[in-house]
């Protein structure tokens, strides 16, 4: 008897008892959908964070952050507790060429009018060399704004290639040109263009539907100048500072260097110290957390599969008893033991496989729903929206394949005993059974 005949026969038996078959599948459905939901989520989270992390650059980012000595964040912060620009300057002087200042601050929106009387809008971002790393901004030509520019409050700026098209219509060489920017609709401030970077839609946030000539790109100016044009001179205090470090340092070296420096600075501070984390650590903490959740859910799912499998076995045993007479008839008509066995095992496998497929579909649906919710949440947090971008569901291909294999195995394992019970029936007794 062929494979297909077996499958057709099994489908017939399953269809003749739809409700019971569905209930039997339930355990499998729940188990598999749990696995798929959680692996979808895990994958999505991982890829979203990896995405965010890779956008926020390279793995050579490091952050020094205030940390309460007793771990209790409720303690009031005094103005003298903050990390100051002076400390940062001292640190940079101490390790020249090893660390780059990478914190950034928004100076608001800017408006320019070019010689053709066209208006160009920009967002103004204050930063230094490290900022380019933290946003993974690629320079096309010219130079970056530097920490030195910031210290000396030079009115330099780096513009995007899009800005060059918008403002100069690609007709003039932008480097060295003076531009006048009206910041936050108040007084105009002059800047000299020193470099051009490549606009990256992924990093700079959504531009959905906006034409290239209408894009609002970032104008990057020195950190201190960004504070100055906003009259926020006092804001050169930091809760956390970001640096990028030179490739010649390992993350461990960079961490200990920063830690040593700040532990000295905060030696006499009763309440606050400085904690140093690298990008890599953040990522690995995140993925460890996701992995732990995945393992826990997988164990639950495995249990649910076993329970589901026992359910399948139970129903198959009932079904074998119920169909004793049918088995007798089939044997009288010449069905061999292995044919009968094959029929019942196929039935168990198909029940489990259908359950598995329904579970996979449900799991994918769940994942999709969560992604929609996640996107809503991201959209409501404009500060992070640019960073996280669009949360994309990544269906776990491996998880799906493994689920299908496991459902099949569950069917084989829990179908085998009832099937051999059926196969071993004595045809005479089976025919006489009522």
């Amino acid at each position: 008897m062929s494979f297909w005949e077996n499958i057709k026969m099994a489908l017939g038996a399953i269809k003749s008892n739809k409700m019971r078959s569905l209930l039997t599948m339930l355990g499998i459905i729940i188990g598999i959908s749990a696995v798929i939901t959680i692996t979808t989520l895990g994958n999505t989270l991982k890829s979203t964070f990896n995405n965010a992390m890779s956008l926020t650059g390279s793995s050579n980012l490091i952050m020094a952050q205030l940390y309460p000595n007793d771990g209790d964040y409720d303690i009031d912060i005094d103005i003298s507790d903050y990390i100051t620009m002076d400390m940062v300057e001292e640190f940079m002087d101490k390790y020249p060429g090893k660390f780059y200042f990478g914190s950034d601050t928004s100076a608001g929106e800017g408006t320019l009018i070019n010689s053709k009387n066209n208006t160009v809008n920009v967002s103004i971002l204050g930063g230094a060399e490290g900022t380019f790393d933290s946003y993974a901004i690629k320079m096309l030509y010219g130079r970056k704004v530097t920490f030195r520019d910031s210290l000396e409050s030079r009115h330099t700026c780096v513009v995007s290639d899009v800005f060059v098209e918008q403002y100069f219509k690609n007709k003039e060489e932008p480097i060295g040109k003076q531009i006048s920017v009206t910041v936050n609709e108040s007084l105009p401030v002059d800047f000299t263009i020193i470099g051009v970077y490549k606009y990256n839609e992924m990093i700079m946030g959504n531009s959905g539907g906006v034409k290239r000539e209408d894009l609002k790109t970032n104008l990057i100016i020195p950190y201190s100048v960004a504070l100055e044009v906003n009259n926020r001179y006092r804001d050169d205090l930091f809760y956390s500072v970001i640096f990028s470090f030179d490739k010649s340092l390992t993350p461990e070296e960079a961490t200990s260097t920063l830690e040593d420096f700040f532990s000295e600075k905060y030696e006499y501070n009763k309440n606050w110290g400085v904690k140093v984390v690298t990008n890599e650590q953040l990522m690995s903490v995140m993925s460890t957390a996701i992995n732990i959740v995945t393992v826990i859910i997988s164990v639950i799912a495995a249990l649910s599969l076993i329970v589901g499998g026992v359910g399948v076995m139970n129903i198959m045993l009932v079904s074998v008893t119920e169909r004793t007479r049918e088995i007798g008839i089939r044997k009288a008509l010449g069905a061999k033991k292995k044919t009968i066995k094959g029929q019942f095992v196929t039935e168990a496998i198909i029940i489990c496989l259908i359950g598995g497929i329904i579970g996979i579909l449900l799991g994918l649906l769940n994942g999709e729903l969560v992604a929609i919710i996640a996107n809503k949440i991201v959209a409501s947090q404009p500060d992070y929206a640019d960073l996280l971008g669009n949360v994309k569901v990544s269906p776990p291909v491996g998880g799906i394949i493994i689920s299908l294999i496991f459902s099949t195995l569950t069917g084989v394992f829990f179908g085998l005993y009832p099937a051999s019970k059926a196969a071993k029936m004595n045809p005479i007794d089976a025919l006489r059974y009522d």
Binding site: M1, R325, I329, R330, A332, A335, K336, K337
Partner: protein
């Protein structure tokens, strides 16, 4: 004489062998059935006819003795080979039809061919021909529960014919039918016998049914008590001339077994008798 299809020698069947309640059901039977014969095996319940039927049908193996079916020694075969014999050499017709309830008439008829490994196309072609033979061709899509008893039995007969078996083994085929449909079903057996030349073994407790066949084997208490041709095949039996019963010391009616199969059956029909002329084998 034509070829011998069934050859049984000294068939003995015991149950619970080696246990205190060991039970011998068949006490050594010799039966020969030839190709193209229409034979009735008649016996009251408890006579051992079901056990005999199971052995003839290769559902069970004899404890002793040899059984050749179509020149194959059944008593030596293993489980798998017995399945093949049942599939290819025997066509079962049961009292309760025993159709697979989830499958339509055509699929039911196809089933033995499916187990026999016939291709899908050949199967349905042959199944349709067989349904035509039993005049059920226009009901081939019907599920068993959409068919009357007589129709079910006709489908079952078509199924029994599927692999062109050496014998058709019918166990009380009219037992669940009213007498009119019972006759219709018997007509089909006669048709298969006459037109197709099928060897048919009919197992029944009903002398009336047996009287339609050409040869009647009467069994009682696991022994063959008579085996003779029935020249009156097809005639109605008259029960009125059974009057020469004697009564034994237990008040049981006794009648000597004679050569007339009809008489013998009538004796059985009167019920609850032991047969004189035989030693008590217990």
């Amino acid at each position: 004489m034509s070829r011998t299809i069934i050859k049984m020698r000294n068939i003995v069947k015991r149950y619970y062998i080696g246990q205190p309640n060991e039970l011998e059901i068949l006490h050594g039977m010799d039966i020969d059935i030839h190709e193209g014969e229409f034979v009735a095996i008649v016996g009251a319940s408890g006579s051992g006819k079901s056990t005999l039927m199971n052995i003839i049908g290769a559902l069970d193996k004899p404890t002793e003795g040899v059984y050749y079916l179509d020149d194959t020694d059944i008593s030596k075969l293993n489980d798998k080979q017995l399945s093949d014999i049942r599939n290819k050499k025997i066509g079962f017709v049961f009292q309760t039809f025993n159709l697979i309830s989830r499958q339509n008439a055509l699929k039911n008829v196809e089933l033995p061919m499916l187990y026999g490994g016939m291709s899908r196309k050949d199967r349905s072609k042959r199944a349709m021909e067989l349904l035509k033979l039993v005049e059920m061709e226009d009901r081939y899509t019907h599920q068993p529960n959409e068919l009357s008893g007589g129709q079910k039995q006709r489908v079952a007969i078509a199924r029994a014919m599927a692999n062109d078996p050496a014998i058709i083994l019918a166990d009380e085929p009219t037992g669940a039918l009213d007498s009119k449909t019972g006759h219709l079903v018997m007509d089909i057996f006669h048709k298969l016998h006459k037109q197709e030349g099928k060897t048919i073994v009919l197992i029944t407790h009903s002398p009336e049914l047996a009287s339609e066949t050409e040869r009647i084997i009467t069994i009682s208490d696991g022994m063959i008590i008579s085996d003779s041709a029935n020249p009156d095949a097809g005639k109605d039996i008259d029960l009125s001339d059974i009057d020469d019963f004697e009564t034994d010391e237990n008040g049981m009616q006794i009648l000597p077994v004679g050569d007339d199969p009809m008489k013998n059956m009538q004796v059985l029909m009167k019920g609850g008798i032991r047969v004189t002329g035989e030693e008590d084998h217990r």
